[in-house]
Amino acid sequence: MGLVQNVVFGLVQGSYIAIAAIGFTMIYGIVNMINFAYGEYLTIGAFVGVLAAGVLPLPVAALVAMVGAGAASIALAKLFFTPINETGPVPMLLTSIGLGLVLRNVIRLGAGRSARYYDTESATYEFAGVPEVPVGSVDLLGNFFVTSRMLVVVGCAVAVFAILHALLTRTDVGIAMRAMSDSEDLARVRGIDTQMIRNSVWVLAGVLAGLAGVLLGIQTNVSVTTGFSQILQILAAAILGGAGSPYGAIAGSYVIGLVVALSTAFLPADMTGLSSAVAFLVLVVVLLVKPSGIAGEEVREA
Protein backbone atom coordinates (compact mmCIF):
# COMPACT_ATOMS: atom_id res chain seq x y z
CA MET A 1 0.00 0.00 0.00
CA GLY A 2 1.16 3.48 -0.78
CA LEU A 3 1.21 6.61 1.24
CA VAL A 4 -2.07 7.90 -0.18
CA GLN A 5 -3.98 4.86 1.04
CA ASN A 6 -2.61 5.27 4.52
CA VAL A 7 -3.46 8.95 4.55
CA VAL A 8 -7.03 7.92 3.70
CA PHE A 9 -7.05 5.49 6.63
CA GLY A 10 -5.61 8.20 8.87
CA LEU A 11 -8.28 10.72 7.88
CA VAL A 12 -11.04 8.20 8.62
CA GLN A 13 -9.58 7.33 12.00
CA GLY A 14 -8.98 11.02 12.74
CA SER A 15 -12.62 11.74 11.93
CA TYR A 16 -14.23 9.51 14.50
CA ILE A 17 -11.63 10.34 17.11
CA ALA A 18 -12.34 14.03 16.43
CA ILE A 19 -16.10 13.67 16.94
CA ALA A 20 -15.47 11.99 20.29
CA ALA A 21 -12.56 14.21 21.32
CA ILE A 22 -14.68 17.36 20.96
CA GLY A 23 -17.03 16.06 23.62
CA PHE A 24 -14.19 14.87 25.82
CA THR A 25 -12.33 18.18 25.68
CA MET A 26 -15.48 20.23 26.32
CA ILE A 27 -16.13 18.23 29.50
CA TYR A 28 -12.55 18.99 30.46
CA GLY A 29 -12.83 22.70 29.70
CA ILE A 30 -16.27 23.38 31.17
CA VAL A 31 -16.96 20.76 33.83
CA ASN A 32 -13.25 20.79 34.65
CA MET A 33 -12.71 17.05 34.80
CA ILE A 34 -11.02 14.29 32.82
CA ASN A 35 -13.77 11.77 32.18
CA PHE A 36 -12.20 8.35 31.80
CA ALA A 37 -15.61 6.73 31.50
CA TYR A 38 -16.13 8.64 28.25
CA GLY A 39 -15.09 5.64 26.12
CA GLU A 40 -18.05 3.75 27.55
CA TYR A 41 -20.37 6.47 26.25
CA LEU A 42 -19.18 5.53 22.76
CA THR A 43 -19.87 1.87 23.53
CA ILE A 44 -23.36 2.73 24.78
CA GLY A 45 -24.00 4.66 21.57
CA ALA A 46 -22.68 1.79 19.44
CA PHE A 47 -24.93 -0.76 21.17
CA VAL A 48 -28.04 1.42 21.15
CA GLY A 49 -27.36 2.03 17.46
CA VAL A 50 -26.89 -1.63 16.58
CA LEU A 51 -30.09 -2.58 18.41
CA ALA A 52 -32.06 0.24 16.81
CA ALA A 53 -30.65 -0.62 13.38
CA GLY A 54 -32.36 -4.01 13.71
CA VAL A 55 -35.74 -2.34 13.30
CA LEU A 56 -35.00 1.12 11.89
CA PRO A 57 -33.14 2.47 8.88
CA LEU A 58 -29.49 3.21 9.75
CA PRO A 59 -29.63 7.03 9.75
CA VAL A 60 -32.61 6.93 12.14
CA ALA A 61 -30.86 4.32 14.27
CA ALA A 62 -27.83 6.60 14.45
CA LEU A 63 -30.05 9.44 15.71
CA VAL A 64 -31.56 7.10 18.30
CA ALA A 65 -28.03 6.18 19.40
CA MET A 66 -27.08 9.84 19.74
CA VAL A 67 -30.16 10.59 21.82
CA GLY A 68 -29.56 7.46 23.91
CA ALA A 69 -25.92 8.28 24.61
CA GLY A 70 -26.81 11.92 25.34
CA ALA A 71 -29.46 10.78 27.84
CA ALA A 72 -27.02 8.30 29.40
CA SER A 73 -24.37 11.02 29.68
CA ILE A 74 -26.59 13.53 31.50
CA ALA A 75 -28.09 10.81 33.72
CA LEU A 76 -24.63 9.52 34.74
CA ALA A 77 -23.44 13.09 35.31
CA LYS A 78 -26.40 13.86 37.59
CA LEU A 79 -25.88 10.64 39.52
CA PHE A 80 -22.11 10.63 39.89
CA PHE A 81 -20.40 13.85 38.81
CA THR A 82 -22.62 16.84 39.59
CA PRO A 83 -22.87 15.92 43.31
CA ILE A 84 -19.06 16.01 43.62
CA ASN A 85 -18.49 19.01 41.34
CA GLU A 86 -16.93 21.02 44.17
CA THR A 87 -14.39 18.38 45.19
CA GLY A 88 -11.98 19.16 42.36
CA PRO A 89 -10.56 17.37 39.33
CA VAL A 90 -8.80 14.44 41.03
CA PRO A 91 -11.77 12.91 42.89
CA MET A 92 -13.83 13.35 39.71
CA LEU A 93 -11.17 11.62 37.60
CA LEU A 94 -11.02 8.70 40.05
CA THR A 95 -14.81 8.46 40.10
CA SER A 96 -14.86 8.35 36.31
CA ILE A 97 -12.28 5.53 36.22
CA GLY A 98 -14.44 3.52 38.61
CA LEU A 99 -17.61 4.32 36.70
CA GLY A 100 -15.97 3.23 33.44
CA LEU A 101 -15.01 -0.10 34.97
CA VAL A 102 -18.54 -0.66 36.26
CA LEU A 103 -20.13 0.33 32.95
CA ARG A 104 -17.86 -2.00 30.95
CA ASN A 105 -18.80 -4.92 33.16
CA VAL A 106 -22.50 -4.10 33.12
CA ILE A 107 -22.36 -3.96 29.32
CA ARG A 108 -20.42 -7.25 29.25
CA LEU A 109 -23.05 -8.92 31.46
CA GLY A 110 -25.88 -7.60 29.34
CA ALA A 111 -24.43 -8.03 25.88
CA GLY A 112 -21.98 -10.88 26.22
CA ARG A 113 -18.51 -11.07 24.78
CA SER A 114 -19.21 -11.62 21.13
CA ALA A 115 -19.03 -8.78 18.66
CA ARG A 116 -22.06 -7.50 16.77
CA TYR A 117 -22.11 -5.99 13.33
CA TYR A 118 -24.03 -3.25 11.62
CA ASP A 119 -25.67 -4.74 8.57
CA THR A 120 -24.60 -2.20 5.98
CA GLU A 121 -23.85 -2.24 2.32
CA SER A 122 -20.57 -0.65 1.41
CA ALA A 123 -19.43 0.29 -2.04
CA THR A 124 -15.72 0.47 -2.77
CA TYR A 125 -14.24 3.01 -5.12
CA GLU A 126 -10.85 2.01 -6.50
CA PHE A 127 -8.40 4.59 -7.74
CA ALA A 128 -5.99 2.57 -9.85
CA GLY A 129 -3.28 3.70 -12.19
CA VAL A 130 -1.81 6.14 -9.71
CA PRO A 131 1.92 6.17 -10.39
CA GLU A 132 4.14 4.60 -7.79
CA VAL A 133 6.91 6.74 -6.36
CA PRO A 134 9.00 4.31 -4.40
CA VAL A 135 11.52 5.73 -1.99
CA GLY A 136 13.28 2.85 -0.32
CA SER A 137 10.50 0.51 0.83
CA VAL A 138 7.99 3.37 0.97
CA ASP A 139 5.68 4.22 -1.92
CA LEU A 140 4.91 7.94 -1.83
CA LEU A 141 1.78 7.71 -4.00
CA GLY A 142 0.29 4.41 -5.09
CA ASN A 143 -3.17 3.04 -5.86
CA PHE A 144 -5.80 3.49 -3.22
CA PHE A 145 -9.45 2.87 -2.49
CA VAL A 146 -12.16 4.51 -0.44
CA THR A 147 -15.37 2.87 0.71
CA SER A 148 -18.74 4.52 1.07
CA ARG A 149 -18.48 3.80 4.81
CA MET A 150 -15.30 5.87 4.98
CA LEU A 151 -17.04 8.70 3.16
CA VAL A 152 -19.91 8.56 5.65
CA VAL A 153 -17.48 8.80 8.58
CA VAL A 154 -15.61 11.77 7.11
CA GLY A 155 -18.84 13.44 5.97
CA CYS A 156 -20.38 13.11 9.44
CA ALA A 157 -17.26 14.61 10.98
CA VAL A 158 -17.32 17.62 8.65
CA ALA A 159 -21.04 18.13 9.39
CA VAL A 160 -20.34 17.94 13.14
CA PHE A 161 -17.56 20.53 12.84
CA ALA A 162 -19.84 22.94 10.94
CA ILE A 163 -22.76 22.53 13.37
CA LEU A 164 -20.47 22.81 16.38
CA HIS A 165 -18.86 25.98 15.05
CA ALA A 166 -22.28 27.54 14.50
CA LEU A 167 -23.35 26.51 18.00
CA LEU A 168 -20.23 27.93 19.64
CA THR A 169 -20.20 31.25 17.81
CA ARG A 170 -23.84 32.03 17.04
CA THR A 171 -25.89 30.89 20.03
CA ASP A 172 -25.99 32.26 23.57
CA VAL A 173 -25.54 28.77 25.02
CA GLY A 174 -22.48 28.13 22.85
CA ILE A 175 -20.85 31.47 23.60
CA ALA A 176 -21.59 30.88 27.29
CA MET A 177 -19.83 27.48 27.04
CA ARG A 178 -16.68 29.13 25.69
CA ALA A 179 -16.98 31.88 28.29
CA MET A 180 -17.19 29.32 31.09
CA SER A 181 -14.06 27.62 29.96
CA ASP A 182 -12.30 31.00 30.25
CA SER A 183 -13.64 31.96 33.68
CA GLU A 184 -16.46 30.38 35.63
CA ASP A 185 -16.64 33.24 38.15
CA LEU A 186 -16.99 35.89 35.48
CA ALA A 187 -19.61 33.75 33.72
CA ARG A 188 -21.66 33.81 36.91
CA VAL A 189 -21.16 37.57 37.23
CA ARG A 190 -22.66 37.89 33.74
CA GLY A 191 -25.72 35.98 34.95
CA ILE A 192 -24.95 32.69 33.23
CA ASP A 193 -26.57 29.70 34.93
CA THR A 194 -23.40 27.62 35.07
CA GLN A 195 -25.12 24.38 36.08
CA MET A 196 -27.43 24.66 33.07
CA ILE A 197 -24.39 25.13 30.83
CA ARG A 198 -22.63 22.13 32.40
CA ASN A 199 -25.76 20.06 31.79
CA SER A 200 -25.82 21.17 28.16
CA VAL A 201 -22.19 20.13 27.81
CA TRP A 202 -22.95 16.69 29.24
CA VAL A 203 -25.77 16.20 26.76
CA LEU A 204 -23.70 17.49 23.83
CA ALA A 205 -20.70 15.31 24.76
CA GLY A 206 -22.96 12.26 25.06
CA VAL A 207 -24.58 12.92 21.69
CA LEU A 208 -21.16 13.22 20.04
CA ALA A 209 -19.96 10.05 21.78
CA GLY A 210 -23.06 8.25 20.51
CA LEU A 211 -22.35 9.29 16.93
CA ALA A 212 -18.67 8.35 17.21
CA GLY A 213 -19.70 4.97 18.64
CA VAL A 214 -22.04 4.23 15.75
CA LEU A 215 -19.40 5.27 13.19
CA LEU A 216 -16.79 3.08 14.89
CA GLY A 217 -19.27 0.23 14.93
CA ILE A 218 -20.02 0.61 11.23
CA GLN A 219 -16.33 0.77 10.41
CA THR A 220 -15.38 -2.25 12.56
CA ASN A 221 -17.78 -3.96 14.93
CA VAL A 222 -19.56 -3.41 18.22
CA SER A 223 -18.20 -5.01 21.36
CA VAL A 224 -17.79 -4.17 25.00
CA THR A 225 -14.40 -2.57 24.33
CA THR A 226 -15.46 -0.52 21.28
CA GLY A 227 -15.16 2.77 23.13
CA PHE A 228 -12.59 1.83 25.75
CA SER A 229 -10.09 0.89 23.06
CA GLN A 230 -10.28 4.49 21.78
CA ILE A 231 -10.09 6.41 25.04
CA LEU A 232 -6.30 6.83 25.07
CA GLN A 233 -6.31 8.16 21.53
CA ILE A 234 -9.19 10.51 22.38
CA LEU A 235 -7.32 11.70 25.45
CA ALA A 236 -4.12 12.17 23.44
CA ALA A 237 -5.95 14.10 20.72
CA ALA A 238 -7.63 16.40 23.25
CA ILE A 239 -4.39 17.15 25.10
CA LEU A 240 -2.43 17.51 21.88
CA GLY A 241 -4.93 20.10 20.64
CA GLY A 242 -4.83 22.06 23.89
CA ALA A 243 -7.07 20.64 26.60
CA GLY A 244 -10.45 22.35 26.64
CA SER A 245 -10.31 23.63 23.07
CA PRO A 246 -12.77 21.94 20.69
CA TYR A 247 -10.98 23.32 17.64
CA GLY A 248 -7.65 22.11 18.95
CA ALA A 249 -9.17 18.68 19.59
CA ILE A 250 -10.13 18.43 15.90
CA ALA A 251 -6.57 19.24 14.82
CA GLY A 252 -5.12 16.91 17.45
CA SER A 253 -7.39 14.07 16.32
CA TYR A 254 -6.22 14.21 12.73
CA VAL A 255 -2.59 14.34 13.82
CA ILE A 256 -3.13 11.26 15.99
CA GLY A 257 -5.15 9.47 13.29
CA LEU A 258 -2.53 10.09 10.63
CA VAL A 259 0.40 9.22 12.86
CA VAL A 260 -1.18 5.93 13.93
CA ALA A 261 -2.10 4.97 10.35
CA LEU A 262 1.26 5.92 8.89
CA SER A 263 3.31 4.30 11.61
CA THR A 264 1.29 1.10 11.27
CA ALA A 265 2.05 1.09 7.57
CA PHE A 266 5.66 2.10 7.51
CA LEU A 267 7.19 0.76 10.68
CA PRO A 268 8.90 -2.61 10.16
CA ALA A 269 6.41 -5.46 10.43
CA ASP A 270 7.60 -6.60 13.86
CA MET A 271 7.09 -3.09 15.26
CA THR A 272 3.51 -2.37 14.16
CA GLY A 273 2.30 -3.03 17.70
CA LEU A 274 4.03 0.22 18.57
CA SER A 275 1.78 2.44 16.49
CA SER A 276 -0.23 3.81 19.41
CA ALA A 277 3.02 4.33 21.29
CA VAL A 278 4.09 6.47 18.34
CA ALA A 279 0.95 8.56 18.79
CA PHE A 280 1.97 9.25 22.35
CA LEU A 281 5.52 10.00 21.29
CA VAL A 282 4.09 12.73 19.06
CA LEU A 283 2.06 13.97 22.01
CA VAL A 284 5.13 14.19 24.21
CA VAL A 285 7.17 15.96 21.55
CA VAL A 286 4.44 18.53 20.84
CA LEU A 287 3.94 19.24 24.52
CA LEU A 288 7.68 19.74 24.98
CA VAL A 289 7.66 22.33 22.22
CA LYS A 290 4.33 23.96 23.08
CA PRO A 291 3.12 22.92 26.55
CA SER A 292 -0.35 24.39 26.04
CA GLY A 293 -1.06 22.22 22.98
CA ILE A 294 -1.79 23.15 19.38
CA ALA A 295 -4.62 25.63 20.01
CA GLY A 296 -4.01 26.26 23.69
CA GLU A 297 -3.58 29.72 25.10
CA GLU A 298 -0.14 30.39 26.45
CA VAL A 299 -0.26 30.27 30.21
CA ARG A 300 0.31 33.81 31.38
CA GLU A 301 1.34 35.06 34.76
CA ALA A 302 -1.50 36.92 36.47
Binding site: I175, A176, S183, R190, I192
Partner: protein
Protein backbone atom coordinates in the same frame (compact mmCIF):
# COMPACT_ATOMS: atom_id res chain seq x y z
CA UNK B 1 -32.29 57.48 49.40
CA UNK B 2 -30.08 54.54 50.25
CA UNK B 3 -29.44 52.27 47.29
CA UNK B 4 -26.98 49.76 48.72
CA UNK B 5 -26.78 49.09 52.42
CA UNK B 6 -24.26 46.68 53.92
CA UNK B 7 -24.77 46.26 57.65
CA UNK B 8 -22.63 44.31 60.13
CA UNK B 9 -21.10 42.14 57.42
CA UNK B 10 -18.84 39.25 58.36
CA UNK B 11 -17.49 37.59 55.24
CA UNK B 12 -14.59 35.58 53.83
CA UNK B 13 -13.78 32.33 52.06
CA UNK B 14 -14.51 28.96 53.66
CA UNK B 15 -12.86 28.95 57.08
CA UNK B 16 -11.08 32.25 56.48
CA UNK B 17 -12.88 35.30 57.83
CA UNK B 18 -11.73 38.48 56.12
CA UNK B 19 -14.36 41.07 57.04
CA UNK B 20 -15.64 41.77 60.54
CA UNK B 21 -18.73 43.85 61.16
CA UNK B 22 -18.33 46.04 58.07
CA UNK B 23 -20.90 48.75 57.35
CA UNK B 24 -21.13 50.48 53.97
CA UNK B 25 -23.81 52.33 52.14
CA UNK B 26 -24.25 54.01 48.79
CA UNK B 27 -27.00 56.54 48.15
CA UNK B 28 -28.77 57.06 44.85
CA UNK B 29 -26.40 58.69 42.39
CA UNK B 30 -23.52 58.70 44.87
CA UNK B 31 -19.88 57.93 44.05
CA UNK B 32 -18.31 56.04 46.95
CA UNK B 33 -14.79 54.68 47.23
CA UNK B 34 -13.24 52.19 49.59
CA UNK B 35 -9.53 52.56 50.21
CA UNK B 36 -7.10 50.88 52.56
CA UNK B 37 -3.89 48.87 52.63
CA UNK B 38 -3.36 45.56 50.85
CA UNK B 39 -5.23 42.76 52.53
CA UNK B 40 -7.72 45.14 54.15
CA UNK B 41 -10.60 43.20 52.62
CA UNK B 42 -11.62 45.78 50.03
CA UNK B 43 -12.08 43.27 47.21
CA UNK B 44 -13.75 40.83 49.56
CA UNK B 45 -16.34 43.50 50.38
CA UNK B 46 -17.13 43.81 46.66
CA UNK B 47 -17.26 40.07 46.18
CA UNK B 48 -19.56 39.73 49.18
CA UNK B 49 -22.05 42.15 47.68
CA UNK B 50 -21.95 40.21 44.42
CA UNK B 51 -22.19 36.75 45.98
CA UNK B 52 -18.68 35.58 45.17
CA UNK B 53 -17.46 35.48 48.79
CA UNK B 54 -19.01 33.57 51.68
CA UNK B 55 -21.19 35.77 53.85
CA UNK B 56 -21.29 34.64 57.48
CA UNK B 57 -23.30 37.35 59.18
CA UNK B 58 -24.91 40.72 58.55
CA UNK B 59 -27.26 41.91 55.82
CA UNK B 60 -26.89 43.38 52.36
CA UNK B 61 -29.89 45.18 50.92
CA UNK B 62 -30.33 46.84 47.57
CA UNK B 63 -33.11 49.44 47.30
CA UNK B 64 -34.73 47.71 50.25
CA UNK B 65 -34.51 44.15 48.83
CA UNK B 66 -32.48 41.68 50.87
CA UNK B 67 -29.76 40.27 48.58
CA UNK B 68 -27.56 38.87 51.35
CA UNK B 69 -27.68 35.26 50.25
CA UNK B 70 -28.09 35.63 46.49
CA UNK B 71 -25.52 33.98 44.17
CA UNK B 72 -23.96 36.20 41.47
CA UNK B 73 -26.22 34.92 38.70
CA UNK B 74 -29.20 36.28 40.69
CA UNK B 75 -27.56 39.49 41.96
CA UNK B 76 -27.07 40.65 38.35
CA UNK B 77 -30.87 40.76 37.98
CA UNK B 78 -31.12 43.32 40.81
CA UNK B 79 -29.60 46.22 38.86
CA UNK B 80 -25.97 45.91 39.99
CA UNK B 81 -23.04 45.26 37.68
CA UNK B 82 -19.58 44.30 38.82
CA UNK B 83 -16.20 44.77 37.15
CA UNK B 84 -13.69 42.49 38.91
CA UNK B 85 -10.10 43.58 39.31
CA UNK B 86 -8.64 40.80 37.17
CA UNK B 87 -10.31 38.40 34.76
CA UNK B 88 -12.99 40.94 33.92
CA UNK B 89 -13.23 39.91 30.26
CA UNK B 90 -13.30 36.51 28.56
CA UNK B 91 -9.91 36.50 26.77
CA UNK B 92 -10.73 33.87 24.13
CA UNK B 93 -13.99 35.55 23.11
CA UNK B 94 -14.16 38.46 20.71
CA UNK B 95 -14.92 41.99 21.89
CA UNK B 96 -18.35 41.63 20.29
CA UNK B 97 -19.06 38.34 22.07
CA UNK B 98 -17.93 39.82 25.37
CA UNK B 99 -20.37 42.72 24.95
CA UNK B 100 -23.11 40.30 23.95
CA UNK B 101 -22.56 38.37 27.19
CA UNK B 102 -22.72 41.69 29.06
CA UNK B 103 -26.40 41.62 28.12
CA UNK B 104 -26.75 37.83 28.59
CA UNK B 105 -29.70 38.13 30.97
CA UNK B 106 -31.68 40.15 28.44
CA UNK B 107 -33.58 38.56 25.57
CA UNK B 108 -31.60 40.48 23.03
CA UNK B 109 -28.67 42.84 22.91
CA UNK B 110 -30.02 46.39 23.42
CA UNK B 111 -28.69 48.32 20.44
CA UNK B 112 -29.00 51.74 22.06
CA UNK B 113 -26.84 50.70 25.01
CA UNK B 114 -24.31 49.09 22.71
CA UNK B 115 -24.09 52.39 20.85
CA UNK B 116 -23.73 54.24 24.14
CA UNK B 117 -20.83 51.96 25.10
CA UNK B 118 -19.17 52.58 21.72
CA UNK B 119 -19.61 56.31 22.20
CA UNK B 120 -17.92 56.09 25.59
CA UNK B 121 -15.17 53.68 24.43
CA UNK B 122 -14.74 54.11 20.65
CA UNK B 123 -11.76 51.74 20.59
CA UNK B 124 -14.11 48.83 21.30
CA UNK B 125 -16.05 49.44 18.11
CA UNK B 126 -12.80 49.53 16.14
CA UNK B 127 -11.68 46.16 17.53
CA UNK B 128 -15.04 44.38 17.61
CA UNK B 129 -13.87 41.20 15.90
CA UNK B 130 -10.63 40.74 17.81
CA UNK B 131 -10.31 38.49 20.82
CA UNK B 132 -10.36 40.30 24.14
CA UNK B 133 -7.06 38.66 25.06
CA UNK B 134 -5.40 40.61 22.23
CA UNK B 135 -6.39 43.98 23.76
CA UNK B 136 -4.05 46.05 25.89
CA UNK B 137 -4.63 46.21 29.65
CA UNK B 138 -6.35 49.57 29.38
CA UNK B 139 -8.59 48.41 26.56
CA UNK B 140 -9.52 45.26 28.52
CA UNK B 141 -10.48 47.47 31.45
CA UNK B 142 -12.69 49.53 29.11
CA UNK B 143 -14.25 46.36 27.73
CA UNK B 144 -14.89 45.08 31.24
CA UNK B 145 -16.62 48.33 32.08
CA UNK B 146 -18.45 48.37 28.74
CA UNK B 147 -19.85 44.88 29.44
CA UNK B 148 -21.03 46.02 32.88
CA UNK B 149 -22.73 49.08 31.36
CA UNK B 150 -24.70 46.95 28.86
CA UNK B 151 -27.31 46.46 31.58
CA UNK B 152 -27.49 50.20 32.40
CA UNK B 153 -27.13 49.32 36.10
CA UNK B 154 -28.30 51.47 39.01
CA UNK B 155 -25.07 50.62 40.80
CA UNK B 156 -21.67 49.83 39.33
CA UNK B 157 -19.07 48.01 41.44
CA UNK B 158 -15.51 48.72 40.29
CA UNK B 159 -12.61 46.78 41.76
CA UNK B 160 -9.31 48.64 41.22
CA UNK B 161 -10.09 50.08 37.79
CA UNK B 162 -6.64 51.72 37.62
CA UNK B 163 -4.69 48.56 38.47
CA UNK B 164 -2.21 47.57 35.80
CA UNK B 165 -2.79 50.70 33.71
CA UNK B 166 0.08 52.78 32.37
CA UNK B 167 0.32 55.99 34.47
CA UNK B 168 -0.83 58.23 31.61
CA UNK B 169 -4.02 56.17 31.25
CA UNK B 170 -5.01 56.32 34.90
CA UNK B 171 -6.39 59.86 34.72
CA UNK B 172 -8.33 59.00 31.59
CA UNK B 173 -9.90 56.01 33.32
CA UNK B 174 -10.95 58.11 36.31
CA UNK B 175 -12.44 60.72 33.94
CA UNK B 176 -14.54 58.03 32.31
CA UNK B 177 -15.75 56.83 35.68
CA UNK B 178 -16.74 60.41 36.52
CA UNK B 179 -18.72 60.48 33.27
CA UNK B 180 -20.56 57.27 34.13
CA UNK B 181 -21.43 58.70 37.55
CA UNK B 182 -22.53 62.02 36.00
CA UNK B 183 -24.90 60.05 33.78
CA UNK B 184 -26.71 58.88 36.91
CA UNK B 185 -25.13 55.54 37.80
CA UNK B 186 -24.13 55.13 41.44
CA UNK B 187 -20.62 53.85 41.93
CA UNK B 188 -18.91 51.81 44.61
CA UNK B 189 -15.21 51.67 43.81
CA UNK B 190 -12.28 49.97 45.50
CA UNK B 191 -8.96 51.66 44.74
CA UNK B 192 -5.30 51.21 45.48
CA UNK B 193 -4.65 54.73 44.20
CA UNK B 194 -6.20 56.20 47.35
CA UNK B 195 -5.43 59.89 46.83
CA UNK B 196 -6.92 60.07 43.36
CA UNK B 197 -9.93 58.00 44.38
CA UNK B 198 -10.67 60.17 47.39
CA UNK B 199 -10.22 63.32 45.33
CA UNK B 200 -12.80 62.12 42.80
CA UNK B 201 -15.46 60.55 44.99
CA UNK B 202 -18.37 61.98 46.97
CA UNK B 203 -17.65 59.89 50.04
CA UNK B 204 -15.01 57.42 51.11
CA UNK B 205 -14.37 54.61 53.51
CA UNK B 206 -11.02 53.53 54.90
CA UNK B 207 -10.91 49.80 55.59
CA UNK B 208 -8.09 48.11 57.48
CA UNK B 209 -7.73 44.52 58.61
CA UNK B 210 -11.26 43.79 57.55
CA UNK B 211 -12.87 46.53 59.66
CA UNK B 212 -14.22 50.04 59.12
CA UNK B 213 -11.69 52.68 60.21
CA UNK B 214 -12.79 56.03 58.83
CA UNK B 215 -15.69 57.33 56.82
CA UNK B 216 -16.45 60.71 55.39
CA UNK B 217 -16.51 62.98 52.34
CA UNK B 218 -13.52 62.26 50.10
CA UNK B 219 -11.89 65.67 50.48
CA UNK B 220 -12.26 65.48 54.25
CA UNK B 221 -10.52 62.07 54.44
CA UNK B 222 -7.87 63.32 52.08
CA UNK B 223 -6.99 66.11 54.49
CA UNK B 224 -7.54 64.22 57.74
CA UNK B 225 -4.28 64.11 59.64
CA UNK B 226 -4.71 60.54 60.95
CA UNK B 227 -5.80 59.12 57.60
CA UNK B 228 -2.87 60.82 55.89
CA UNK B 229 -0.40 59.51 58.43
CA UNK B 230 -1.66 55.95 58.49
CA UNK B 231 -2.96 55.30 55.00
CA UNK B 232 -1.76 57.93 52.56
CA UNK B 233 1.93 57.96 53.46
CA UNK B 234 1.93 61.35 55.21
Amino acid sequence: MTLLDVAGLDAGYGDLQVLTDVDLHVDDGEYVTVVGPNGAGKSTAMKSVFGLADRFDGTITLAGDDITSLPPEDVIHEGISYVPQTDNVFPSLTVEENLRLGAYILDEVPQDRLNAVFERFPVLEDRLGETAGALSGGQQQMLGMGCALMLDPDLLLLDEPSAGLAPDLVDDMFDRIDDVNDAGTSILMVEQNAREALRRCDRGYVLAQGENRYEGPGEQLLHDEEVRQQFLGG
